[in-house]
Amino acid sequence: MNISESFLTALDSLLANKLRSVLTMLGVIIGVAAVIALLSIGNGVSDSITGEINAIGTNLIIITTDFDNSDGYQTLSQVDVDALSDPLRAPLLGDVAGIAQGNQEVISSGRSTNVTVAGITPNYFTIYNMTEFQGGDGLTQTDVDTRARVAVLGATAAEDLFPDEYAVGQSVKINGVSYEVVGVLAESGSAINNTDSNIYVPLSTAQSRLYTTRTRSGEKAVSSITAQAVSAEETDAALEQITEILRAEHGITYAADDDFSLISQGDLLETFNTITATLTAFLGAIAGISLVVGGIGIMNIMLVSVTERTREIGIRKAVGALKRDILIQFLLESIVLSLIGGLLGMTLGWLISLIAGNALDIPTVVDAGTVALATGFAAAVGLVFGIYPAWRAAGLRPIEALRYE
Protein backbone atom coordinates (compact mmCIF):
# COMPACT_ATOMS: atom_id res chain seq x y z
CA MET A 1 0.00 0.00 0.00
CA ASN A 2 1.50 3.37 -0.97
CA ILE A 3 1.56 6.52 1.09
CA SER A 4 -1.24 8.36 -0.70
CA GLU A 5 -3.55 5.38 -0.09
CA SER A 6 -2.57 5.45 3.57
CA PHE A 7 -3.22 9.16 3.63
CA LEU A 8 -6.71 8.73 2.18
CA THR A 9 -7.44 5.92 4.63
CA ALA A 10 -6.34 8.15 7.51
CA LEU A 11 -8.46 11.01 6.21
CA ASP A 12 -11.43 8.67 5.86
CA SER A 13 -11.31 7.55 9.43
CA LEU A 14 -10.82 11.09 10.70
CA LEU A 15 -13.89 12.18 8.75
CA ALA A 16 -15.83 9.23 10.16
CA ASN A 17 -15.31 10.73 13.64
CA LYS A 18 -15.63 14.42 12.97
CA LEU A 19 -16.42 15.58 16.48
CA ARG A 20 -13.63 13.57 18.03
CA SER A 21 -11.19 14.80 15.39
CA VAL A 22 -12.12 18.43 16.00
CA LEU A 23 -11.89 18.07 19.77
CA THR A 24 -8.50 16.42 19.41
CA MET A 25 -7.32 19.19 17.14
CA LEU A 26 -8.44 21.85 19.59
CA GLY A 27 -5.31 21.48 21.69
CA VAL A 28 -3.06 21.98 18.67
CA ILE A 29 -5.25 24.79 17.32
CA ILE A 30 -4.97 26.71 20.57
CA GLY A 31 -1.26 25.95 20.92
CA VAL A 32 -0.35 27.04 17.42
CA ALA A 33 -2.65 30.08 17.59
CA ALA A 34 -0.99 31.09 20.84
CA VAL A 35 2.51 30.66 19.41
CA ILE A 36 1.68 32.66 16.28
CA ALA A 37 -0.22 35.39 18.10
CA LEU A 38 2.31 35.85 20.88
CA LEU A 39 5.35 35.75 18.62
CA SER A 40 3.82 38.17 16.14
CA ILE A 41 2.71 40.54 18.87
CA GLY A 42 6.18 40.30 20.40
CA ASN A 43 7.78 41.04 17.03
CA GLY A 44 5.30 43.86 16.51
CA VAL A 45 6.17 45.45 19.84
CA SER A 46 9.84 45.06 19.04
CA ASP A 47 9.41 46.64 15.58
CA SER A 48 7.39 49.49 16.97
CA ILE A 49 9.99 50.23 19.65
CA THR A 50 12.77 50.05 17.09
CA GLY A 51 10.77 52.38 14.88
CA GLU A 52 10.28 54.87 17.70
CA ILE A 53 13.93 54.81 18.64
CA ASN A 54 14.99 55.27 15.04
CA ALA A 55 12.47 58.08 14.61
CA ILE A 56 14.16 60.15 17.31
CA GLY A 57 17.08 60.85 15.06
CA THR A 58 20.05 59.25 13.40
CA ASN A 59 23.19 58.00 15.17
CA LEU A 60 22.53 60.12 18.23
CA ILE A 61 24.74 60.05 21.30
CA ILE A 62 23.37 61.54 24.50
CA ILE A 63 25.80 62.85 27.10
CA THR A 64 24.66 63.47 30.66
CA THR A 65 26.33 64.26 33.96
CA ASP A 66 27.35 61.22 35.95
CA PHE A 67 26.30 62.45 39.38
CA ASP A 68 28.16 59.59 41.09
CA ASN A 69 31.47 61.22 40.14
CA SER A 70 30.62 64.93 40.13
CA ASP A 71 30.33 65.90 43.81
CA GLY A 72 26.79 67.05 43.11
CA TYR A 73 27.77 69.54 40.37
CA GLN A 74 26.50 69.54 36.84
CA THR A 75 29.58 68.86 34.77
CA LEU A 76 28.47 69.75 31.25
CA SER A 77 28.47 73.24 29.82
CA GLN A 78 28.55 75.25 26.61
CA VAL A 79 32.35 74.93 26.70
CA ASP A 80 31.95 71.18 26.19
CA VAL A 81 29.43 71.74 23.41
CA ASP A 82 31.87 74.05 21.66
CA ALA A 83 34.72 71.59 22.08
CA LEU A 84 32.66 68.73 20.63
CA SER A 85 31.47 70.97 17.78
CA ASP A 86 35.05 71.65 16.69
CA PRO A 87 35.49 69.59 13.50
CA LEU A 88 39.25 69.47 14.03
CA ARG A 89 38.98 67.96 17.50
CA ALA A 90 35.92 65.84 16.86
CA PRO A 91 35.87 64.86 13.18
CA LEU A 92 33.50 61.96 13.84
CA LEU A 93 30.75 64.22 15.17
CA GLY A 94 28.26 66.28 13.19
CA ASP A 95 25.78 68.49 14.94
CA VAL A 96 26.13 68.94 18.70
CA ALA A 97 23.43 70.53 20.84
CA GLY A 98 23.39 71.48 24.51
CA ILE A 99 20.07 71.24 26.31
CA ALA A 100 19.03 72.68 29.65
CA GLN A 101 15.72 71.30 30.74
CA GLY A 102 13.41 70.79 33.68
CA ASN A 103 9.76 70.82 34.66
CA GLN A 104 7.93 74.11 34.77
CA GLU A 105 4.44 75.33 35.38
CA VAL A 106 3.35 76.98 32.16
CA ILE A 107 0.35 79.30 32.14
CA SER A 108 -1.67 80.61 29.24
CA SER A 109 -4.79 82.77 29.51
CA GLY A 110 -6.75 80.83 32.08
CA ARG A 111 -4.97 77.49 31.68
CA SER A 112 -1.92 75.96 33.17
CA THR A 113 0.04 72.81 32.58
CA ASN A 114 3.11 71.27 34.10
CA VAL A 115 5.50 70.27 31.36
CA THR A 116 9.12 69.88 30.42
CA VAL A 117 10.58 73.16 29.25
CA ALA A 118 13.80 72.68 27.35
CA GLY A 119 16.33 75.34 26.54
CA ILE A 120 17.80 74.50 23.15
CA THR A 121 19.77 75.76 20.21
CA PRO A 122 18.26 75.78 16.69
CA ASN A 123 20.18 72.68 15.59
CA TYR A 124 18.24 70.68 18.23
CA PHE A 125 15.25 70.55 15.87
CA THR A 126 17.31 69.13 12.99
CA ILE A 127 19.10 66.61 15.20
CA TYR A 128 15.80 65.30 16.56
CA ASN A 129 13.98 65.33 13.19
CA MET A 130 11.55 67.97 14.41
CA THR A 131 11.33 69.98 11.25
CA GLU A 132 7.58 69.95 10.67
CA PHE A 133 5.53 72.75 12.14
CA GLN A 134 1.77 73.13 12.46
CA GLY A 135 2.29 76.83 12.54
CA GLY A 136 5.02 79.42 12.89
CA ASP A 137 8.64 78.36 12.91
CA GLY A 138 11.47 77.06 15.06
CA LEU A 139 13.96 79.02 17.08
CA THR A 140 16.69 81.03 15.39
CA GLN A 141 20.29 81.73 16.29
CA THR A 142 19.23 85.34 16.86
CA ASP A 143 16.73 84.15 19.48
CA VAL A 144 19.60 82.39 21.24
CA ASP A 145 22.01 85.29 20.87
CA THR A 146 19.52 87.81 22.23
CA ARG A 147 18.06 85.60 24.96
CA ALA A 148 14.69 86.21 23.32
CA ARG A 149 11.61 85.32 25.35
CA VAL A 150 10.09 83.13 22.68
CA ALA A 151 8.75 79.58 22.86
CA VAL A 152 7.97 76.73 20.52
CA LEU A 153 5.20 74.38 21.70
CA GLY A 154 4.85 70.66 21.14
CA ALA A 155 1.52 69.67 19.58
CA THR A 156 0.01 68.36 22.81
CA ALA A 157 1.28 71.29 24.84
CA ALA A 158 -0.30 73.69 22.35
CA GLU A 159 -3.58 71.77 22.51
CA ASP A 160 -3.54 71.90 26.32
CA LEU A 161 -2.73 75.59 26.58
CA PHE A 162 -4.69 76.92 23.63
CA PRO A 163 -7.48 74.42 22.93
CA ASP A 164 -9.64 76.91 21.01
CA GLU A 165 -7.13 79.37 19.62
CA TYR A 166 -4.29 79.57 17.17
CA ALA A 167 -1.30 79.35 19.51
CA VAL A 168 1.26 81.20 17.40
CA GLY A 169 1.41 84.86 18.45
CA GLN A 170 -0.13 84.20 21.85
CA SER A 171 1.92 84.38 24.97
CA VAL A 172 2.60 81.91 27.78
CA LYS A 173 3.98 82.55 31.24
CA ILE A 174 6.84 80.39 32.42
CA ASN A 175 8.12 80.96 35.93
CA GLY A 176 6.30 84.31 36.00
CA VAL A 177 7.80 85.64 32.75
CA SER A 178 5.92 85.99 29.47
CA TYR A 179 7.14 84.28 26.31
CA GLU A 180 5.77 84.77 22.83
CA VAL A 181 4.77 81.57 21.06
CA VAL A 182 6.57 81.63 17.72
CA GLY A 183 5.86 78.08 16.56
CA VAL A 184 3.89 74.90 17.15
CA LEU A 185 5.45 71.59 16.19
CA ALA A 186 3.63 68.97 14.15
CA GLU A 187 2.54 65.91 16.11
CA SER A 188 5.27 63.25 16.22
CA GLY A 189 3.43 60.56 18.17
CA SER A 190 6.73 59.48 19.70
CA ALA A 191 6.32 57.83 23.06
CA ILE A 192 10.03 57.72 23.77
CA ASN A 193 11.01 61.31 24.48
CA ASN A 194 7.55 62.79 24.64
CA THR A 195 8.35 65.67 22.32
CA ASP A 196 4.69 66.46 21.76
CA SER A 197 4.11 67.73 25.27
CA ASN A 198 7.36 69.66 25.58
CA ILE A 199 7.94 73.41 25.28
CA TYR A 200 11.16 74.78 23.79
CA VAL A 201 12.84 78.08 24.53
CA PRO A 202 16.28 79.41 23.54
CA LEU A 203 19.09 77.82 25.58
CA SER A 204 20.49 81.20 26.63
CA THR A 205 17.08 82.33 27.88
CA ALA A 206 16.60 79.12 29.82
CA GLN A 207 20.06 79.38 31.35
CA SER A 208 19.48 82.90 32.58
CA ARG A 209 15.84 82.63 33.66
CA LEU A 210 14.99 78.99 34.43
CA TYR A 211 18.03 76.79 34.95
CA THR A 212 20.80 78.88 36.39
CA THR A 213 22.97 76.09 37.75
CA ARG A 214 26.71 76.45 37.21
CA THR A 215 29.39 73.85 36.81
CA ARG A 216 32.24 73.63 39.35
CA SER A 217 34.30 75.97 37.18
CA GLY A 218 31.46 78.50 37.01
CA GLU A 219 30.23 77.84 33.49
CA LYS A 220 26.51 77.87 32.80
CA ALA A 221 25.48 74.25 32.93
CA VAL A 222 23.51 72.21 30.40
CA SER A 223 21.59 69.12 31.57
CA SER A 224 22.56 67.10 28.53
CA ILE A 225 24.38 67.27 25.24
CA THR A 226 23.20 65.47 22.14
CA ALA A 227 25.82 64.74 19.52
CA GLN A 228 25.29 63.17 16.15
CA ALA A 229 27.88 60.68 14.92
CA VAL A 230 28.72 60.97 11.23
CA SER A 231 27.68 57.37 10.60
CA ALA A 232 26.35 54.30 12.40
CA GLU A 233 29.65 52.47 11.82
CA GLU A 234 31.64 55.29 13.41
CA THR A 235 29.44 55.48 16.51
CA ASP A 236 31.80 53.49 18.72
CA ALA A 237 34.78 55.55 17.61
CA ALA A 238 32.72 58.71 18.12
CA LEU A 239 31.97 57.60 21.69
CA GLU A 240 35.70 57.28 22.32
CA GLN A 241 36.36 60.66 20.78
CA ILE A 242 33.76 62.28 23.04
CA THR A 243 35.20 60.60 26.11
CA GLU A 244 38.69 61.77 25.23
CA ILE A 245 37.64 65.38 24.58
CA LEU A 246 35.42 65.66 27.67
CA ARG A 247 38.05 64.14 29.97
CA ALA A 248 40.53 66.68 28.65
CA GLU A 249 38.06 69.55 29.00
CA HIS A 250 37.14 68.52 32.52
CA GLY A 251 40.74 67.93 33.51
CA ILE A 252 40.13 64.39 34.65
CA THR A 253 43.33 62.63 35.67
CA TYR A 254 44.30 59.25 34.27
CA ALA A 255 43.11 57.24 37.28
CA ALA A 256 39.84 59.10 37.89
CA ASP A 257 36.45 58.08 36.57
CA ASP A 258 34.43 59.96 33.95
CA ASP A 259 32.13 62.61 35.41
CA PHE A 260 29.71 62.15 32.52
CA SER A 261 27.99 59.20 30.92
CA LEU A 262 27.25 58.38 27.31
CA ILE A 263 24.52 56.41 25.68
CA SER A 264 24.15 55.98 21.96
CA GLN A 265 20.97 55.34 20.05
CA GLY A 266 22.44 51.96 19.10
CA ASP A 267 22.91 51.06 22.79
CA LEU A 268 19.33 52.07 23.44
CA LEU A 269 18.11 49.98 20.53
CA GLU A 270 20.14 47.02 21.67
CA THR A 271 18.83 47.28 25.23
CA PHE A 272 15.22 47.43 24.12
CA ASN A 273 15.71 44.65 21.58
CA THR A 274 17.22 42.42 24.24
CA ILE A 275 14.24 43.05 26.47
CA THR A 276 11.64 42.45 23.79
CA ALA A 277 13.47 39.40 22.43
CA THR A 278 13.54 37.91 25.91
CA LEU A 279 9.87 38.68 26.39
CA THR A 280 8.97 37.24 23.00
CA ALA A 281 10.95 34.07 23.66
CA PHE A 282 9.31 33.78 27.05
CA LEU A 283 5.81 34.18 25.62
CA GLY A 284 6.67 31.78 22.81
CA ALA A 285 7.87 29.22 25.33
CA ILE A 286 4.62 29.47 27.28
CA ALA A 287 2.68 29.04 24.06
CA GLY A 288 4.99 26.14 23.19
CA ILE A 289 3.99 24.44 26.41
CA SER A 290 0.35 24.62 25.38
CA LEU A 291 1.38 23.01 22.10
CA VAL A 292 2.99 20.15 23.98
CA VAL A 293 -0.17 19.81 26.07
CA GLY A 294 -2.10 19.71 22.80
CA GLY A 295 0.24 16.95 21.61
CA ILE A 296 -0.41 14.92 24.73
CA GLY A 297 -4.12 15.40 24.01
CA ILE A 298 -3.55 13.88 20.58
CA MET A 299 -1.66 10.96 22.04
CA ASN A 300 -4.41 10.43 24.59
CA ILE A 301 -7.17 10.38 21.98
CA MET A 302 -5.12 8.22 19.62
CA LEU A 303 -4.56 5.68 22.40
CA VAL A 304 -8.27 5.65 23.15
CA SER A 305 -8.89 5.36 19.45
CA VAL A 306 -6.55 2.37 19.14
CA THR A 307 -8.41 0.60 21.94
CA GLU A 308 -11.79 1.55 20.53
CA ARG A 309 -10.81 0.42 17.07
CA THR A 310 -9.05 -2.80 18.10
CA ARG A 311 -11.63 -4.78 16.18
CA GLU A 312 -11.16 -2.62 13.11
CA ILE A 313 -7.42 -3.22 13.32
CA GLY A 314 -8.12 -6.95 13.63
CA ILE A 315 -10.31 -6.86 10.53
CA ARG A 316 -7.70 -4.94 8.57
CA LYS A 317 -5.04 -7.43 9.60
CA ALA A 318 -7.32 -10.38 8.81
CA VAL A 319 -7.76 -9.15 5.24
CA GLY A 320 -4.03 -8.68 4.78
CA ALA A 321 -2.86 -5.38 6.26
CA LEU A 322 0.83 -5.50 7.13
CA LYS A 323 2.17 -4.18 10.41
CA ARG A 324 3.59 -1.29 8.44
CA ASP A 325 0.21 -0.44 6.88
CA ILE A 326 -1.43 -0.09 10.30
CA LEU A 327 1.52 1.84 11.71
CA ILE A 328 1.49 4.33 8.86
CA GLN A 329 -2.29 4.70 8.96
CA PHE A 330 -2.36 5.65 12.63
CA LEU A 331 0.74 7.80 12.38
CA LEU A 332 -0.75 9.67 9.45
CA GLU A 333 -3.98 10.13 11.35
CA SER A 334 -2.21 11.96 14.14
CA ILE A 335 0.00 13.92 11.76
CA VAL A 336 -3.00 14.96 9.66
CA LEU A 337 -4.86 15.92 12.83
CA SER A 338 -2.04 18.10 14.06
CA LEU A 339 -1.29 19.59 10.64
CA ILE A 340 -4.92 20.58 10.08
CA GLY A 341 -4.97 21.81 13.66
CA GLY A 342 -1.79 23.71 12.87
CA LEU A 343 -3.33 25.36 9.81
CA LEU A 344 -6.50 26.32 11.67
CA GLY A 345 -4.40 27.53 14.60
CA MET A 346 -2.29 29.58 12.23
CA THR A 347 -5.38 31.28 10.83
CA LEU A 348 -6.73 31.88 14.32
CA GLY A 349 -3.37 33.17 15.55
CA TRP A 350 -3.11 35.46 12.57
CA LEU A 351 -6.60 36.84 13.29
CA ILE A 352 -5.73 37.33 16.96
CA SER A 353 -2.52 39.13 16.06
CA LEU A 354 -4.44 41.36 13.62
CA ILE A 355 -7.02 42.24 16.25
CA ALA A 356 -4.39 42.71 18.94
CA GLY A 357 -2.29 44.78 16.56
CA ASN A 358 -5.25 47.08 15.93
CA ALA A 359 -6.14 47.29 19.59
CA LEU A 360 -2.57 47.99 20.74
CA ASP A 361 -1.78 50.06 17.67
CA ILE A 362 1.38 48.12 16.84
CA PRO A 363 2.37 46.61 13.49
CA THR A 364 2.05 42.87 14.25
CA VAL A 365 4.05 40.77 11.87
CA VAL A 366 3.32 37.11 11.06
CA ASP A 367 6.54 36.30 9.27
CA ALA A 368 7.50 33.18 7.34
CA GLY A 369 9.77 32.06 10.16
CA THR A 370 6.94 32.08 12.66
CA VAL A 371 4.67 30.16 10.28
CA ALA A 372 7.38 27.60 9.52
CA LEU A 373 8.11 27.22 13.22
CA ALA A 374 4.46 26.63 14.13
CA THR A 375 3.81 24.26 11.22
CA GLY A 376 6.96 22.31 11.89
CA PHE A 377 6.15 22.14 15.55
CA ALA A 378 2.61 20.95 14.84
CA ALA A 379 3.80 18.20 12.50
CA ALA A 380 6.46 17.18 15.00
CA VAL A 381 3.84 17.05 17.74
CA GLY A 382 1.70 14.75 15.57
CA LEU A 383 4.67 12.54 14.76
CA VAL A 384 6.12 12.33 18.25
CA PHE A 385 2.84 11.85 20.06
CA GLY A 386 1.46 9.60 17.31
CA ILE A 387 4.30 7.10 17.31
CA TYR A 388 3.41 5.29 20.49
CA PRO A 389 -0.31 4.78 19.75
CA ALA A 390 0.47 3.76 16.16
CA TRP A 391 3.11 1.32 17.35
CA ARG A 392 0.58 -0.14 19.80
CA ALA A 393 -1.98 -0.53 17.02
CA ALA A 394 0.49 -2.14 14.64
CA GLY A 395 1.66 -4.59 17.30
CA LEU A 396 -1.80 -6.04 18.00
CA ARG A 397 -2.11 -9.76 17.24
CA PRO A 398 -4.82 -10.18 14.61
CA ILE A 399 -6.54 -13.01 16.44
CA GLU A 400 -6.72 -11.12 19.72
CA ALA A 401 -7.80 -7.93 17.97
CA LEU A 402 -10.64 -9.80 16.22
CA ARG A 403 -11.82 -11.35 19.45
CA TYR A 404 -11.88 -7.93 21.18
CA GLU A 405 -15.39 -6.87 22.22
Binding site: A16, E312, G314, A318, V319, A321, K323, D325, I399
Partner: protein, 227 residues
Protein backbone atom coordinates in the same frame (compact mmCIF):
# COMPACT_ATOMS: atom_id res chain seq x y z
CA UNK B 1 -3.66 -28.28 -0.83
CA UNK B 2 -3.85 -28.19 2.98
CA UNK B 3 -1.72 -30.58 4.99
CA UNK B 4 -1.60 -30.34 8.77
CA UNK B 5 0.56 -32.68 10.78
CA UNK B 6 0.44 -33.01 14.57
CA UNK B 7 -0.59 -29.41 15.17
CA UNK B 8 -0.74 -28.35 18.84
CA UNK B 9 -1.74 -25.09 20.39
CA UNK B 10 -2.16 -24.07 24.01
CA UNK B 11 -3.08 -20.76 25.59
CA UNK B 12 -2.59 -19.31 28.98
CA UNK B 13 -5.91 -18.13 30.34
CA UNK B 14 -4.95 -16.41 33.56
CA UNK B 15 -3.08 -19.07 35.49
CA UNK B 16 -4.61 -21.98 33.61
CA UNK B 17 -3.13 -23.47 30.48
CA UNK B 18 -5.77 -24.41 27.93
CA UNK B 19 -4.76 -27.05 25.40
CA UNK B 20 -6.90 -26.03 22.45
CA UNK B 21 -5.34 -28.40 19.91
CA UNK B 22 -3.55 -31.57 20.93
CA UNK B 23 -2.15 -32.98 17.73
CA UNK B 24 -4.34 -32.41 14.72
CA UNK B 25 -3.73 -34.12 11.37
CA UNK B 26 -5.82 -32.72 8.56
CA UNK B 27 -5.75 -32.90 4.77
CA UNK B 28 -8.07 -30.92 2.57
CA UNK B 29 -7.95 -31.12 -1.21
CA UNK B 30 -8.51 -28.31 -3.64
CA UNK B 31 -12.17 -27.69 -4.44
CA UNK B 32 -13.55 -29.42 -1.39
CA UNK B 33 -16.46 -28.14 0.73
CA UNK B 34 -15.65 -29.21 4.26
CA UNK B 35 -17.57 -28.65 7.48
CA UNK B 36 -15.79 -28.78 10.82
CA UNK B 37 -18.12 -29.59 13.70
CA UNK B 38 -17.65 -29.73 17.40
CA UNK B 39 -19.09 -28.49 20.68
CA UNK B 40 -17.95 -25.15 22.06
CA UNK B 41 -14.44 -25.33 23.52
CA UNK B 42 -13.53 -28.22 21.26
CA UNK B 43 -10.81 -26.19 19.49
CA UNK B 44 -12.60 -25.75 16.18
CA UNK B 45 -12.20 -21.97 16.13
CA UNK B 46 -8.52 -22.31 17.01
CA UNK B 47 -8.17 -24.76 14.14
CA UNK B 48 -9.78 -22.33 11.76
CA UNK B 49 -7.45 -19.52 12.95
CA UNK B 50 -4.50 -21.81 12.20
CA UNK B 51 -5.88 -22.63 8.76
CA UNK B 52 -6.29 -18.91 8.03
CA UNK B 53 -2.87 -17.87 9.35
CA UNK B 54 -4.45 -15.70 12.01
CA UNK B 55 -2.58 -17.70 14.63
CA UNK B 56 0.50 -19.88 14.70
CA UNK B 57 0.77 -23.39 16.18
CA UNK B 58 3.08 -24.26 19.08
CA UNK B 59 4.29 -27.31 17.23
CA UNK B 60 3.56 -29.36 14.14
CA UNK B 61 3.70 -28.43 10.48
CA UNK B 62 1.15 -26.74 8.26
CA UNK B 63 1.77 -26.62 4.56
CA UNK B 64 -0.49 -24.63 2.30
CA UNK B 65 0.02 -25.10 -1.43
CA UNK B 66 3.35 -26.73 -0.62
CA UNK B 67 4.62 -23.87 1.57
CA UNK B 68 5.34 -24.30 5.27
CA UNK B 69 3.14 -21.64 6.84
CA UNK B 70 4.31 -22.28 10.41
CA UNK B 71 7.76 -20.94 9.50
CA UNK B 72 6.50 -17.71 7.91
CA UNK B 73 7.09 -14.20 9.30
CA UNK B 74 4.19 -11.99 10.36
CA UNK B 75 4.24 -10.12 7.08
CA UNK B 76 4.36 -13.30 5.01
CA UNK B 77 1.36 -14.61 6.91
CA UNK B 78 -0.41 -11.32 6.27
CA UNK B 79 0.22 -11.89 2.55
CA UNK B 80 -1.33 -15.36 2.79
CA UNK B 81 -4.41 -13.92 4.54
CA UNK B 82 -4.55 -11.24 1.92
CA UNK B 83 -4.20 -13.26 -1.28
CA UNK B 84 -5.03 -16.91 -0.67
CA UNK B 85 -7.62 -16.96 2.07
CA UNK B 86 -10.94 -15.18 2.50
CA UNK B 87 -12.56 -15.00 5.91
CA UNK B 88 -16.25 -15.00 6.72
CA UNK B 89 -17.10 -14.52 10.38
CA UNK B 90 -20.20 -15.17 12.44
CA UNK B 91 -20.36 -11.48 13.45
CA UNK B 92 -19.60 -10.34 9.86
CA UNK B 93 -16.71 -8.15 11.10
CA UNK B 94 -17.35 -5.26 8.76
CA UNK B 95 -15.78 -1.85 9.35
CA UNK B 96 -18.26 0.52 10.97
CA UNK B 97 -19.56 3.53 9.00
CA UNK B 98 -17.98 2.28 5.80
CA UNK B 99 -19.95 1.70 2.59
CA UNK B 100 -20.07 -1.84 1.16
CA UNK B 101 -17.92 -1.01 -1.85
CA UNK B 102 -15.09 0.25 0.36
CA UNK B 103 -15.36 -2.79 2.64
CA UNK B 104 -14.90 -5.10 -0.29
CA UNK B 105 -12.10 -2.98 -1.75
CA UNK B 106 -10.14 -3.14 1.52
CA UNK B 107 -8.20 -6.39 0.89
CA UNK B 108 -7.60 -5.21 -2.69
CA UNK B 109 -6.04 -2.04 -1.34
CA UNK B 110 -3.67 -4.03 0.88
CA UNK B 111 -2.94 -6.29 -2.09
CA UNK B 112 -1.70 -3.23 -3.95
CA UNK B 113 -4.33 -2.93 -6.70
CA UNK B 114 -4.78 0.52 -8.22
CA UNK B 115 -7.87 2.56 -7.51
CA UNK B 116 -9.85 1.80 -10.65
CA UNK B 117 -9.09 -1.91 -10.72
CA UNK B 118 -9.98 -2.08 -7.07
CA UNK B 119 -13.41 -0.57 -7.61
CA UNK B 120 -14.01 -2.76 -10.65
CA UNK B 121 -13.17 -5.97 -8.79
CA UNK B 122 -15.11 -4.91 -5.68
CA UNK B 123 -18.18 -4.17 -7.79
CA UNK B 124 -17.85 -7.52 -9.51
CA UNK B 125 -17.60 -9.31 -6.15
CA UNK B 126 -20.64 -7.48 -4.82
CA UNK B 127 -22.64 -8.36 -7.93
CA UNK B 128 -21.60 -11.98 -7.50
CA UNK B 129 -23.17 -12.09 -4.02
CA UNK B 130 -26.30 -10.28 -5.24
CA UNK B 131 -25.61 -6.86 -3.73
CA UNK B 132 -25.05 -4.97 -6.98
CA UNK B 133 -27.70 -2.46 -5.95
CA UNK B 134 -26.41 -1.72 -2.46
CA UNK B 135 -22.78 -0.81 -2.97
CA UNK B 136 -23.04 2.52 -1.17
CA UNK B 137 -24.88 1.19 1.87
CA UNK B 138 -23.17 1.20 5.22
CA UNK B 139 -23.42 -1.83 7.56
CA UNK B 140 -26.17 -0.26 9.70
CA UNK B 141 -28.24 0.24 6.55
CA UNK B 142 -28.09 -3.46 5.65
CA UNK B 143 -29.83 -6.53 7.04
CA UNK B 144 -27.83 -9.33 8.69
CA UNK B 145 -27.95 -11.46 5.55
CA UNK B 146 -26.86 -8.54 3.41
CA UNK B 147 -24.00 -7.75 5.78
CA UNK B 148 -22.85 -11.36 5.56
CA UNK B 149 -23.00 -11.10 1.78
CA UNK B 150 -20.77 -8.02 1.95
CA UNK B 151 -18.36 -10.04 4.09
CA UNK B 152 -18.41 -12.86 1.54
CA UNK B 153 -17.82 -10.39 -1.28
CA UNK B 154 -14.87 -9.04 0.70
CA UNK B 155 -13.55 -12.60 1.07
CA UNK B 156 -13.97 -13.15 -2.68
CA UNK B 157 -12.50 -9.88 -3.85
CA UNK B 158 -8.88 -10.98 -4.24
CA UNK B 159 -9.98 -14.33 -5.80
CA UNK B 160 -8.70 -16.55 -3.01
CA UNK B 161 -8.46 -20.29 -3.39
CA UNK B 162 -9.92 -20.89 0.06
CA UNK B 163 -12.82 -19.38 1.95
CA UNK B 164 -12.81 -19.93 5.69
CA UNK B 165 -16.18 -19.43 7.32
CA UNK B 166 -16.62 -19.39 11.08
CA UNK B 167 -20.29 -20.03 11.91
CA UNK B 168 -21.35 -18.00 8.86
CA UNK B 169 -25.05 -18.61 9.53
CA UNK B 170 -24.85 -18.35 13.32
CA UNK B 171 -26.22 -14.83 13.49
CA UNK B 172 -28.84 -15.26 10.76
CA UNK B 173 -32.38 -16.62 10.63
CA UNK B 174 -32.72 -20.00 8.94
CA UNK B 175 -34.16 -18.61 5.69
CA UNK B 176 -31.25 -16.17 5.26
CA UNK B 177 -28.81 -18.82 6.47
CA UNK B 178 -29.98 -21.14 3.71
CA UNK B 179 -29.42 -18.42 1.13
CA UNK B 180 -25.86 -17.88 2.38
CA UNK B 181 -25.20 -21.64 2.22
CA UNK B 182 -26.58 -21.69 -1.32
CA UNK B 183 -24.09 -18.99 -2.15
CA UNK B 184 -21.22 -21.01 -0.67
CA UNK B 185 -22.30 -24.04 -2.66
CA UNK B 186 -22.35 -21.99 -5.82
CA UNK B 187 -18.87 -20.61 -5.11
CA UNK B 188 -17.71 -24.17 -4.43
CA UNK B 189 -18.92 -25.29 -7.82
CA UNK B 190 -16.76 -22.49 -9.28
CA UNK B 191 -13.73 -24.26 -7.78
CA UNK B 192 -13.20 -22.38 -4.49
CA UNK B 193 -12.31 -24.55 -1.51
CA UNK B 194 -14.70 -23.86 1.35
CA UNK B 195 -14.01 -24.72 4.96
CA UNK B 196 -16.86 -23.95 7.28
CA UNK B 197 -17.10 -24.23 11.04
CA UNK B 198 -20.48 -24.91 12.54
CA UNK B 199 -22.18 -26.64 15.42
CA UNK B 200 -25.39 -27.11 13.44
CA UNK B 201 -25.77 -30.55 11.87
CA UNK B 202 -28.19 -29.28 9.23
CA UNK B 203 -25.66 -26.66 8.12
CA UNK B 204 -22.86 -29.22 8.14
CA UNK B 205 -24.93 -31.50 5.93
CA UNK B 206 -24.55 -29.02 3.08
CA UNK B 207 -20.82 -29.80 2.91
CA UNK B 208 -19.28 -32.74 1.07
CA UNK B 209 -17.33 -33.85 4.09
CA UNK B 210 -17.78 -33.31 7.80
CA UNK B 211 -14.96 -33.44 10.32
CA UNK B 212 -15.72 -33.76 14.04
CA UNK B 213 -13.37 -32.29 16.56
CA UNK B 214 -13.53 -32.72 20.31
CA UNK B 215 -11.05 -31.73 23.05
CA UNK B 216 -8.51 -30.64 20.50
CA UNK B 217 -8.32 -33.78 18.39
CA UNK B 218 -10.20 -34.96 15.31
CA UNK B 219 -12.48 -37.75 16.40
CA UNK B 220 -14.40 -38.63 13.28
CA UNK B 221 -15.00 -37.71 9.71
CA UNK B 222 -17.43 -38.77 7.07
CA UNK B 223 -18.35 -37.99 3.52
CA UNK B 224 -21.89 -36.78 3.13
CA UNK B 225 -24.32 -38.51 0.80
CA UNK B 226 -25.53 -35.70 -1.41
CA UNK B 227 -28.90 -35.15 -2.93
Amino acid sequence: MIHMRNITKSYEMGTQVVHALRGVDLDIAEGEFVAIMGPSGSGKSTLMNMLGCLDVPNSGTYTLDGEDVSQMSDDQQARVRNKRVGFVFQQFNLLPRTPALKQVALPLMYAGYGRSERLERAQEALRKVGLGERMDHKPDELSGGQQQRVAIARALAVSPSIILADEPTGALDSQTGTEILDLFEELNTQGITIIMITHDQEVADRAQRTIWIRDGVIVNEETNEHQ
